[in-house]
Amino acid sequence: MCHEIVGRERNVQYLPFGYELVGTKSMLFDNGIWKSNDWDYTYSVKDNGWFHSSPKEQDLTFRIPLVVGTTEVKSTCMAGMHVASFNQCNRLEALHSNIMVRSIDSLLIDIDRAPVLFMKDDIVFFDGEDVSVKAFRLPTEYEVREIANIAFHASLGEETFSCRMEDCTEVLSDKMYNHFCYLYGFPYYEDGKFFLLLIEKR
């Protein structure tokens, strides 16, 4: 006997990109340290830019459909860092902004639905929507432009500019309002440094 977990929604998918797959992830860049967007988890990042973590036991909830409603059964599974799929709601044109920069005391960059790349062999669990992986990476500048075109239907031409994440408050000083700034863009990793590719939205 064997079980199969199949994607549960139409129009929800990951993207093939060379030998890798692309999904989306929401993360915080908190004073130079990458954290999960609930602040609970600090990512380990290798020198080559790969975020990595060994699989660990995680909570797993079975939501079993009944004639009316569902019943919940709690369990556990071996899982890793979650990566979400692309769907109709997280395409760029549906977002007002996906990056928030805050410069009170220290720098905080809240990035929503950043495209991340992972290998098929890095998948440790799939719940029908999110995959769990033991490693993922941010794209390079070239890759992020390609992915933006494919996944977000964003044509990135002359309307973009890049800035190092650590320096973004200086670059964005004219856009900051009360120490906050809301933008469109994607993080990328190039030559050992993290950048933001930002889009001047019309």
Partner: protein, 209 residues
């Protein structure tokens, strides 16, 4: 972080403090077996079918660009129980298939079986894996039969003595019949719908005419 597995197909039924799903099984020469493999079920004196949870294959069908990437993994699984769906929902179901051959083999298709939430070891969005399940008792079987369009002429037959069961000799000795197995006082029975039997007889006569 946590994962959630949501239902993608079908539904289970709550009956008192138990859940009801469906299962296809064989009763062959006094032994309960799986419908595909030669798996033989262990049954406790109380009528519970039970097995330890074991490592099973688990396949992730990850949707990629209108296709799938298949990732093989494992999970701790048990005996599979299927949900009811539009095709085998109790209200629509011709609930059992009995097959009669020389050595008497009874195949029960989509029969309702009961299990507790504590028995669930895995759920893949369709099938549940359990470490124990049981047939309904007579009262529960009749209650389940009420979920199916009016069944006025239900009759019970001991499953261990299939000669008592009024098989209809049909094509390849297969007869289709509404049936719910139940367990009462240490014995297995079939609750059979005699209306269904009559209807099948009528269909056969029409065909022959």
């Amino acid at each position: 972080m946590c994962h959630e597995i949501l239902g993608r197909e079908g539904f289970f039924i709550r009956m008192d403090d138990m859940l009801v799903g469906s299962k296809t099984m064989l009763f062959c020469d006094g032994v309960w077996k799986g419908s595909i493999s030669n798996y033989i079920y262990s049954i406790s004196p109380e009528g519970w079918f039970h097995d330890e949870a074991k490592q099973q294959d688990l396949t992730f069908w990850v949707p990629v660009d209108d296709d799938f990437v298949i990732v093989e993994s494992t999970c701790i699984g048990g005996m599979h129980v299927s949900p009811f769906n539009k095709c085998n929902a109790p209200k629509d179901l011709r609930q059992g298939i009995l097959k009669s051959t020389g050595s008497i083999l009874i195949m029960l298709d989509y029969i309702p079986i009961l299990f507790g939430e504590d028995d669930i070891v895995f759920y893949d969005g369709r099938d549940i894996s359990v470490k124990a399940f049981r047939f309904p008792n007579k009262v529960e079987a009749k209650k389940l039969s009420e979920k199916i369009p009016p069944r006025r002429h239900l009759a019970s037959y001991r499953i261990e003595d299939p000669k008592e069961i009024p098989f209809i000799e049909g094509y390849l000795s297969i007869t289709l019949r509404f049936a719910i197995p139940y367990y009462e006082d240490g014995k297995f029975y079939l609750l059979i719908d005699k209306d269904n039997e009559r209807r099948l007889h009528e269909i056969r006569h029409d065909t022959e005419a």
